[in-house]
């Protein structure tokens, strides 16, 4: 019995400590925005020495921008030759160049991206992330840099011809993506959430799910690489991608928006998109 | 070793050999054991006497020769050794009671599972035998609650519960404190009085002298001398036996 009580006490202490940690970053959002980048580095001991260095440097010279993404989402971000490349990666690089800062990209699970930005472990996330109301409550978005859509992939010859046919079907999605969130609105749908879009597609080819709801551009890549799959003409939803920052970090937000505008005006942005989408 | 005895021997050992790797522990041993015999096997440690005993119920696999027991050659791999072991009780130096069972369960499990006796039948027999060795009050105890001497008496009873035709004793008193040796030997003596056939590997010369019908001296993997106890102790012929007796007596 005594041991029991001790264990509960330990659990409670743990919870209390974590509460304090979890609460801190959010309450500090009201502080001067300029300090944020530095904070990101110095606060996050868990993220490792590199991030700390990034923070320390940013106060001195141009400094480093830490971007998080889920690099399993071609053509927006994926691994190639030990680098993370893709539309988002290139755009982020261009933005960092304009701001005279260095860019560091970290790869993590999609559903951890916003918490990472919120807690200051990263400066921003560019991850083919669709702007929606729920997310806006938790992060600030830059101006859109790409139009996107959630589409439906099915096997050729499937009886699913339009989004309305998804009712009561087994649907594969990537956890936390807009496809996942919107698929929840489908009537009687049995949603199977995978860590990676590719795994959802694999489940589709193996007949374990009836359809996959996923962003259009990666969908094109997946369909191209797997025979017997097709994308339905009618999109599931239309949406916009944007970069997400910690709420209240207006200084960085303004700088990034300015850079995005410059990239759009100069046609550089379109060039990056073309490079990946036409090349694929 | 009179072959022309009126009875056929209960156990006939013919040219028994046992090797552990290159080491020859038993060399060409032949011996007949008759019903009612109490054979005490003595000899220095490492002489092969325990190995000899353990070959009799094939706890050790003989390397050669034959052992005929109740008409079957138990060295033959085709013989159902488990069936014959039921008729050959064995008592170990370390008792080897089953610690996870009560005394009663230790005594009844084999008769119930192997001889198809009912629990009740087996229990009655066990209690009768327990009473005989003076341990009826310990039926519900566990082995760990008993002294060494008590454990060994229980171990003897465990074998007796199977109504064996022969009892094999492998140094049954060697692991006991001196004050407990007597109680175990008493039980063995009573068994001998009831004409139980026994093969006893022992260092208890007193027991051998008083209870044995035959005493055998073993050394270097051979039986070097065999005689009735009176003759054996009073008039040893083999030099090595003389030397051995001079040390232990």
């Amino acid at each position: 019995m005594k041991k029991n009580k001790i264990a509960i006490a330990v659990a409670l202490c743990m919870a209390a400590v974590l509460t304090a940690c979890g609460g801190a970053p959010k309450t500090e959002t009201t502080k001067a925005a300029g300090a944020e980048t530095t904070k990101a580095g110095t606060e996050t001991t868990a993220a490792g020495a590199e991030t700390t260095k990034a923070g320390a440097e940013s106060s001195a010279a141009g400094g480093k921008l830490v971007m998080v993404t889920n690099a399993e989402f071609p053509p927006y971000e994926y691994h190639e030759n030990n680098d993370i490349v893709g539309i988002d990666a290139d755009i982020a690089k261009a933005i960092a160049d304009k701001m005279g800062m260095e860019l560091e990209i970290q790869d993590m699970a999609f559903d951890s991206l916003i918490p990472a930005v919120q807690s200051g472990k990263a400066d921003f996330t560019a991850a083919g992330m669709t702007v929606n109301e729920d997310r806006k409550k938790n992060v600030d978005f830059t101006d859109t840099y790409a139009q996107a859509a959630q589409v439906i992939i099915v096997k050729e010859g499937s009886e699913i011809k339009a989004p309305a046919d998804l009712d009561g079907k087994k649907i594969g999605v990537q956890t936390g993506t807009t496809g996942d969130i919107y698929a929840g609105d489908i009537k009687d749908a049995n949603i199977q959430r995978f860590n990676k879009g590719m795994e959802a597609v694999m489940a589709l080819t193996q007949g374990k799910v009836d359809a996959v709801v996923i962003d259009r551009e990666p969908a094109k890549v997946f369909v191209k690489e797997n025979t017997g799959l097709k994308i339905l003409d009618e999109a599931f939803t239309e949406e916009e991608y944007a970069i997400a920052l910690k709420k209240g970090n207006t200084e960085l937000l303004n700088k990034m928006n300015a850079a995005i505008k410059e990239l759009k005006d100069s046609g550089e942005l379109q060039k990056i998109v073309d490079k990946y989408i036409t090349a694929k | 070793m009179s072959i022309d005895n009126m009875d056929k021997p209960l156990i006939q050992v013919q040219n028994l050999g046992k090797k552990f790797g290159d080491m020859e522990v038993l060399k060409d041993i032949s011996v007949d054991i008759y019903k009612g015999d109490v054979v005490c096997v003595i000899g220095p440690s490492g002489s092969g006497k325990s190995t000899f005993l353990r070959c009799l119920n094939r706890l050790e696999e003989p390397s050669g020769g034959h052992i005929l027991f109740e008409g079957a050659d138990i060295v033959d791999k085709k013989t159902d050794i488990d069936k014959h072991r039921q008729k050959m009780g064995m008592v170990f130096q370390q008792f080897n009671l089953f610690p996870h069972m009560t005394i009663l369960k230790n005594l009844t499990i084999a008769p119930v599972k192997l001889q198809g006796k009912s629990e009740k039948e087996a229990k009655e027999q066990a209690l009768k035998l327990l009473h005989k060795v003076g341990l009826a009050d310990r039926a519900d105890s566990y082995p760990n609650q008993l002294s060494g001497g008590q454990k060994q008496r229980i171990a003897i009873v465990r074998s007796l519960c199977m109504n064996p035709d022969v009892m094999l004793f492998d140094e049954p008193t060697s692991a006991l404190d001196p004050e407990m040796v007597g109680e175990v030997l008493t039980v063995m003596r009573e068994l001998a009085d009831e004409k139980m056939t026994m093969v006893v590997v022992t260092h208890e010369m007193g027991f051998a002298r008083e209870v044995a019908t035959r005493v055998m001296f073993m050394d270097g993997g051979y039986f070097l001398e065999e005689a009735e106890p009176g003759e054996f102790f009073a008039n040893p012929k083999n030099d090595r036996l003389k030397l051995f007796l001079s040390k232990v007596l």
Partner: protein
Amino acid sequence: MWEKLRDDFYQNFIVDDRWKYITDGLQNTLKITFFAVLIGILLGFLVAVIRSTYENTHKLKVLNWICGVYLTIIRGTPVVVQLMIMYFVIFSFHDPGQVFTAVVAFGINSGAYVAEIFRSGISSIEKGQFEAGRSLGFNYAQTMWFIIMPQAFKNVVPTLANEFIVLLKETSVAGYIGLQDLTKGGDIIKSRTYSAFMPLIAVAVIYLVMVMMFSQLVRALERRLQRSEH
């Protein structure tokens, strides 16, 4: 701060019935663990008996070899990889359901560890026990079953319990095959509310409580087993 916690709690568990992600996930976690433990015990027992039999009698050589390969592969690769192989490779053309797949994968994984636990339990029993059993006329299997196993089992209860606690926690990677277990349930909430604190702590506390309850149970069992010997 309390207000914020309350609000967080509301957002993470009450809105849209999000708590259901946790309870549904918990059900799957319990289901997977329970059946995987059963398979693990069965398989582990079988493998341990085969291995011990080979060690004692040099029989069952081929089976022993197969068991050796099984132990090497399972203990030499991470369970999450085994799980994905089971789902994406072995069951690639037939879908027996994700829970079933996970039960099979975790069961086979656990079996390897249980086998070694049982085997060490068996070899910890003195040789004399085995000889006493055989000398009474029990055959090999009967001696194992009536005499060796009960003692071996008693010896390995704490280690075995530990293995099952590890298994319970290891099922947290079940999300890799699109299965919604307890951990994944928390992940889904996290992906909806963008707050890591509440769902993760809730998930952690539930695992902790389950492990503590199970440990209590094992301690009670151990006490009972102990009593029978004194």
